[in-house]
Symmetry: C2
Subunit: 317 residues, 2 copies
């Protein structure tokens, strides 16, 4: 007797973005409803989780039969405590590159073209063609993209179309690709910082990257340089960056802060040359269709091999 097709419980918000996968039964569930079991009490082989936090990560053990979980987030540390070691776990690889690189580009352009200043003058209903500093552009700028994974590559494609020069940095030296001549290892950062008009952080927070941009590294940047962080706050020494901006020497555009949330009334809010947005890099409808395509790939892999792609604890479990 052939085994029955795998059953995948999929959040309703993702179903319209999920093309049918032959040989997999998709059972939609409302991810906000913490009372009705995904699958309605049937055995579920694979549980897909939603973009927006719902109850079913913490309650996954209550769903009968779950053998594999696919997250909608790139981060996965939060999921490990909730799942038995025998359950396969995959994070969302590549799904958020578009949304986050788009926010990074938006922050770069807003800062270079003085949009925060213009927004505040608009709020005062005043036509004022002055700017709070020299005219700047993204075009012709040298941008250091620190972190050359999916987000860094998606950003690099955008920056190059904007006529910027990109220097890509990753954990180790690597050959180039269709976007950059070469990828510099992070050990070369001290040599690269003095030539950067703009630095964008697109790398994960790890023990190695915590405090990567400290007082010395920020001090190596040229006057007027822009630091953009769409990664995680603690990669930058927050107080050193604030001091450099307060002195008018550097500028910053931050989707993430340290601490986060940034407390109301914190001095960073009003520091000249600093743009802060409240961790909204992922706040984009672009991620849903990409998650749908990624989930289809995972369903096919699971159907064919019984194994998810991009498992985040294959070795440990």
């Amino acid at each position: 007797m052939p085994s029955p097709p795998p059953v995948a419980a999929v959040p309703e918000e993702l179903v319209p973005h999920l093309a049918p996968v032959d040989g997999v039964e998709v059972v939609p569930y409302d991810h906000r409803d913490g009372d009705t079991l995904p699958g309605g009490g049937r055995d579920v082989d694979l549980l897909a989780l939603s973009m927006i936090a719902g109850p079913w990560l913490a309650k996954a053990r209550q769903i009968p039969g779950v053998r594999a979980v696919v997250l909608s987030s790139a981060g996965y540390e939060h999921a490990l405590p909730h799942l038995p070691e025998a359950v396969q776990l995959a994070n969302a690889v590549g799904v958020h590159d578009t949304a986050t690189s788009e926010m990074a580009l938006a922050l770069v352009l807003a800062a270079q073209r003085h949009l925060p200043h213009h927004v505040l003058r608009q709020h005062e209903a005043v036509w004022d063609r002055s700017a709070p500093g020299p005219w700047r552009s993204l075009a012709d700028s040298t941008v250091l993209v620190v972190g050359y994974g999916g987000i860094g590559r998606a950003l690099t494609a955008r920056l190059r179309a904007c006529e910027a020069r990109v220097l890509a940095v990753a954990s180790t030296d690597k050959p180039g690709d269709d976007l950059v001549d070469r990828v510099h290892g992070v050990d070369h950062l001290p040599d690269l910082l003095p030539s950067a008009d703009i630095v964008v952080l697109t790398l994960p927070l790890t023990d190695r990257t915590r405090g990567l941009l400290g007082e010395a590294e920020l001090g190596a940047l040229p006057d007027g340089a822009l630091v953009v962080n769409v990664a995680r706050g603690p990669i930058v020494d927050a107080e050193a960056l604030r001091a450099e901006c307060a002195a008018g020497r550097l500028r910053a555009a931050l989707d993430v802060t340290d601490p986060e949330p940034l407390p109301d009334g914190h001095p960073l809010w009003g520091t000249p040359g600093v743009l802060v947005v409240p961790h909204v890099g992922g706040a984009s409808p672009a991620s849903l269709p990409r998650m749908g395509r990624y989930l289809a790939t995972q369903l096919r892999a699971y159907r064919d091999s019984g194994q998810l792609l991009h498992q985040v604890r294959t070795i440990e479990s």
Copy 2:
């Protein structure tokens, strides 16, 4: 006896961006000094004008010998009354495409990702992840680029790198290029508007384009669409656009307005969903090096043929 090399009076700000041109003598002048004649009283064959308005357009007749004038602006109507018909006149073609398309992209991204809202919340020193409308992205959006000259093409390259779909519109149907499958004639605008998430105006103001987006055309846009104008204010019916935005049906991001400057306290300043910046599309250091390269091309053409390229009144004069 061979004729002496042509003499070109060039604003000092452009000289560092101008590579030497064999057989042309370049004489720098201070474009802000309205008393000292460019060329210092010598005959000047070619007068290059500066990016920032100076006195020497209006006083060009006082400079002995001028036979050709190269403007640093794309517009040229303002120059015609000041120059004898025998003087060749060329505008700056392609020089501002980078600066203006960059501002158009900055406005699109700021509006889609709610940056004006976040800037105002930052001004209040408050962490607030809410948005004044649904999450939007540039990625996956359909963008109608109306005006497919240099700025429209430069913008299209940027938009495509941002994973947007571009529909290009020009005065008449044209074959596509490396960026778009085809270019639609403006007569097809009524058919294209209903599918546009974003419309960007990058076309010149002429008798044909004045009022191109009137009440009917704006009404044909889908709910929530964004209108971006980096061209000239009167291409849009300003009151119809303001009314659609005030009703919450459309959004706008405007580098140019009608009237312009927008009077202090004008109701458009505070209309929800409207971002206004004070005609700063050209306020970019990217234009100087591009003007330097363009001027070198003009100097070579004039040296070789006695004629400027891109003359704007060849036929009339």
